[in-house]
Symmetry: C2
Subunit: 200 residues, 2 copies
Amino acid sequence: MKFSPLVDELIQSLRALPGVGPKSAQRMAFQLLERERKVGLKLADSLQKAMSEVGHCQSCRTFTEQDLCPICSSHRRVNSGIICVVETPADVLAIEAGGHFNGRYFVLLGHLSPLDGVGPEELGLALLERHLTSDDVSELILATNPTVEGDATAHFIADMARRHNVVISRIAHGVPVGGELEYVDSTTLALSFNGRIPLL
Amino acid sequence: MKFSPLVDELIQSLRALPGVGPKSAQRMAFQLLERERKVGLKLADSLQKAMSEVGHCQSCRTFTEQDLCPICSSHRRVNSGIICVVETPADVLAIEAGGHFNGRYFVLLGHLSPLDGVGPEELGLALLERHLTSDDVSELILATNPTVEGDATAHFIADMARRHNVVISRIAHGVPVGGELEYVDSTTLALSFNGRIPLL
């Protein structure tokens, strides 16, 4: 059966969110309509503003509505001379959650994928190279995902960076803390052996 | 770490949706920002319109932006003389999905719950009684949930309806089709024995 047009439209629009199926969309719509109209209006307002105003940081390409994101605006972090290259803004959040990294980021917004038409230009590598040329960068940490595409992207960027006077490193891959050897896949286990660290 | 204010606000607003935790909200926000700005704007627009324009059907109390919902506007369904009482608009959808019921509905928008301040007035029972008095109603089907509150609400409405010349019925409770006796709880099993139907 069809509901009233506006209710139907709301359910359809909510289904477009990732991970939301027909039942969840219906539940969301009804909960908002029954008890939380103000919350719904607030969400509409946040969406409207974010979709139309949020752009990319001119220095690291993460999401921000200003010219520079909070991290690229921090002298302390820019002066550290370390740039960490990640694939997505979510990766920035994940690393920041740890609180152990004090450099700045460069967000590729994807990985090399020639079949999908994603080349060096789409990843903003010219901007990254400008940073390596003009800024005082001592180290470039490649933190792309350990997938075929992520590894290829890391190698491509490493080749580019070798023309500049900068230390290039790749984050370590191995057994995660709290993981059990028995349940770790063989590729990860092989990487953890290759990357073993001598105990002094 | 904090994102830019607008992105943070969007993630917080998305978390208010039922079933959406911090990680899902972040994923939704990033997917919309990265690839689906138009979808996001469309959702903002649907939310805005639905929250401010959708009200309740003046006859059955379900959600609609018109005076009468599509079902209450249908002569065929109103003339059937059967009213099915349900707790929520989602219950209407569930029954309509089957396509076997041709009467109209009355939506309580809750169940009797004196501790939460929900009495006969909040459930619109005066409106239901007006239907029983003035309309040509032959049967009242009570399809509230088989919970303590739902059963109490059904009994309360049955008492009220007995003053009018109308057949009162309650939907059957028992073993669901495709269910296995072994896994059905004992209360449901007891109800299915009490409600057994002679095979002719």
